[in-house]
């Protein structure tokens, strides 16, 4: 069951499918996993279960989703409530690019350089060690970040910063900041940074964007 792993969530289960395995492997591991969950559920005298399928860096197409749904046939109580992936579909990127209110910037921000943007920015390029990418709104970063990103500059704590910041020096949002080190387990290649209820900079999985910043999520969905 190496390519499908189960995680308990407060409203059900999340199943993570390893994109490094083939989809066929995913499917057979998934079938075995559903069977195992059913055995467990039976012990608890519980028939229904809700699942989120997180497919990591593999974006599932409709046929693949249908193939997964088909595995549920023997288990009438089981239900998939959401499919999520850690990648942005090309069409969504194209939409982002076409949306006038998220300006696109490209390039390399080198040591000693700072680039500032008014509002949101989709930055396609690299932020090198010693470089600073700063925006008054949200930052969406496609590329390597070794320097500093600062979203919501100077004081918009609603802003988020999306990108792979695992190799960054610091992440700032509004007046909060995090000195990135290897020990932060919440920070992954698929997390985003936001300011939490305690007004501290925090990271959450991409999947949580809908929950934590619903308005922004909607805007991006369009």
């Amino acid at each position: 069951m190496a390519s499908a792993t189960l995680k308990g969530k407060k409203d059900g289960y999340e199943i993570q499918l390893a994109a490094s395995a083939s989809f066929a492997e995913n499917l057979s591991d998934l079938a075995a996993l559903f069977k195992q969950v059913q055995t467990q559920q039976a012990l608890l005298h519980e028939e229904s279960a809700k699942f989120t399928i997180a497919s990591g860096e593999r974006l599932l197409d409709e046929d693949q989703k249908a193939a997964i749904q088909a595995l549920l046939k023997p288990y009438p109580g089981f239900q998939i409530i959401n499919f999520s992936a850690a990648v942005i579909p090309q069409t969504k990127v194209a939409n982002l690019l076409a949306t006038p209110h998220v300006p696109v910037a490209v390039g390399v921000i080198r040591s000693g350089q700072e680039r500032r943007f008014d509002g949101d920015v989709l930055f396609i390029g690299a932020v090198h060690y010693g470089g600073v990418l700063r925006a008054t709104g949200n930052i969406f970063c496609l590329g390597e970040v070794a320097g500093i990103v600062h979203a919501g500059y100077p004081n918009d704590a609603e802003a988020i910063a999306v990108g792979d910041f695992t190799g960054a020096t610091q992440v700032h949002i509004a007046d909060t900041m995090d000195i990135v080190d290897a020990h932060n387990t919440k920070l992954t290649a698929h997390s985003f940074a936001y300011v939490n209820d305690l007004h501290a900079l925090d990271y959450a999985d991409d999947i949580a964007l809908k929950e934590l910043r619903p308005r922004l999520y909607q805007k991006l969905e369009e």
Partner: protein
């Protein structure tokens, strides 16, 4: 065709700017080009020593700028190459600030018609001396070593060069490459360094004591056709003349069969 003027720069000191200027200058002359190497490292001149012309200096660039000598009086000719290689020496005792970007630009313009290449050896740092060197050049060759500190300084300098908008876009030399360290995973590979700095690679030079011996003899290592760093510098020079020339393969230390068996992945 008037000369192409290139500045050899790095930000950090001691990474191999002067060694590169001396060797590329020499290799260009060996390949039949007329070359003037200009030493702008005022107060710390050593390009003359590396090329082996240290004992023939009479006037220097500051003498030219301040009118004590004409440009041609200051040029030191290398008789090994029928005068195809010429050095314009730096001053050893002058105040660093006597040179200005305009003065350097004028000198380069005066040299252009007589040479195919003008190579400007830049001082370390990003202050006045760096700005002077940049002012005279059409393009830059950035030298780094595999250390992060050198790469970070190179990155800073590349940013300034890009902002300067030179007609020829900058290219990278990675010096002091150690294949054993790359194989052991303790050093970044040459392509990884070029990728990190987002700069096209002109070439690389392996770490080799032959460079130090050559330095001491005043005979750039490119003369030594059997040496590895000599081959590296010839490849760099060929790629400078013709960018289509393939890059020398980066030397790799192959893991032995046993090492592979016990240390997979």
């Amino acid at each position: 065709m008037p000369a192409i003027a290139l500045v050899i720069t790095s930000g950090k000191g001691g990474v191999g700017k002067t060694t590169s200027t001396a060797n590329i200058g020499t290799a260009l002359s060996i390949m039949g080009k007329r070359v003037c190497v200009v030493d702008l490292d005022l107060g710390l001149r050593n390009l003359d020593i590396m090329i082996g012309l240290g004992n023939r200096i009479i006037y220097d660039i500051v003498d030219v700028v301040q009118g004590r000598a004409t440009l041609h009086q200051a040029l030191v000719k290398d008789t090994r190459f029928e005068d195809r290689l010429v050095l314009l020496p730096a001053a050893q005792d002058a105040d660093k600030n006597v040179l200005t970007p305009a003065a350097v630009r004028n000198i380069v313009e005066a040299l252009r018609s007589e040479f195919d290449y003008i190579l400007i050896d830049c001082p370390a740092g990003i202050e006045q001396g760096f700005r002077n060197a940049l002012a005279g050049a059409d393009g830059a060759v950035v030298v780094t070593t595999p250390e992060l500190s050198a790469m970070s300084d190179a990155d800073r300098v590349i940013g300034l060069i890009e902002a300067h908008r030179m007609p020829i876009s900058p290219r990278l030399i990675v010096n002091r490459v150690q294949p054993e360290m790359i194989a052991a995973g303790t050093s970044l590979s040459v392509p990884a360094i070029a990728h990190r700095l987002a700069l096209p690679l002109l070439g690389f030079i392996v770490e080799d004591n032959a460079i130090i011996t050559a330095d001491n003899r005043g005979e750039p290592v490119v003369f030594d056709t059997n040496s590895k760093p000599g081959a590296c510098f010839r490849n760099i020079t060929e790629r400078l003349i013709n960018p289509q020339t393939p890059l020398l393969p980066v030397p790799t230390i192959k893991k032995s069969f046993w090492a592979k068996l016990f240390n997979r992945g």
